[in-house]
């Protein structure tokens, strides 16, 4: 028997939270890196 107050299941939410965190952090890191490289290239050309 499950103790009172314990939420059954919920793994889907756990996976969603960690996936969203990985996607957001990785996406932002890639975005900063890409912008930095583009700015450096632009500076080298000028």
């Amino acid at each position: 028997m499950t103790p009172a107050g314990v939420i059954q299941g919920g793994w889907g939410f756990v996976v969603a939270a960690y996936t969203v965190s990985a996607v957001v952090l990785l996406g932002y890191a890639v975005s900063v890196h890409a912008r930095y490289r583009a700015e450096r290239k632009r500076k080298e050309r000028s």
Binding site: I7, G9, A17, S21, V32, Y36, K43
Partner: protein
């Protein structure tokens, strides 16, 4: 709470680091106003952008946690509302920076706006103590059982190192942009007139 409590190991470290990034931006705003210097303005921009990304992620993680525990994705609870205000305030300052072309005015205005917006950070932190809130009180290694200390610390330091790296790289990007903005304009091309005898 069951399996859902595993969200805490990413939600709480994200919250700590979001507040840390915005505190860093606040410190840079103060130094930028008092001492001046483009480096502090670049650091301010970097800290604020990383802080906004982490705060937005914090709200998304919170919504994913709220649904199975509270039954709703979002509630106008004091902690959630003050955090939403925080995200919009700092995102607004980042937008303001985009609209101001003069780098001197941009540095001063965004530093002042950052100091004003930072007032919300302690309000977010203490909101769960000051008002009746659905949100639980602040979590720390002291409030969770010993078995959970390490997962919480490992994630906290992981996000901290990532945040420091991102702030560093974003600062360099902001400095590169500032350099090209502040560089003196190139002299107009010299039009050489043809020598007299050539006509």
């Amino acid at each position: 709470m069951g399996d859902v409590q595993r969200i805490m190991y990413v939600h709480v470290p994200t919250a700590w680091n979001a507040m840390l990034a915005l505190t860093f931006a606040f410190g840079c705003a103060l130094v930028s106003l008092l001492k001046g210097g483009w480096r502090w303005d670049a650091r301010l921009e970097a800290g604020m952008e990383v802080g906004v990304v982490l705060s937005t992620l914090l709200c998304i993680q919170g919504a994913i946690w709220a649904k199975p525990t509270w039954g709703v994705w979002w509630d106008w609870d004091p902690r959630l509302t003050t955090t939403a205000v925080l995200v919009f305030a700092f995102a607004g300052i980042l937008a303001l920076r985009r609209f101001v072309d003069d780098p001197v005015k941009r540095a001063v205005w965004s530093a002042v706006a950052t100091i004003i917006a930072y007032v919300d950070v302690p309000i977010v932190y203490f909101s769960v103590r000051w008002w009746n809130s659905l949100h639980q009180l602040q979590s720390s290694p002291e409030t969770v059982s010993k078995a959970f200390h390490w997962p919480l610390r490992i994630n906290a330091f992981g996000i901290l190192f990532l945040m420091c790296g991102l702030i560093g790289l974003r600062t360099r990007l902001a400095l590169l942009r500032l350099e090209s903005e502040l560089a003196p304009p190139l002299p107009p091309p010299v039009v050489q007139s043809a020598p007299r005898g050539a006509r």
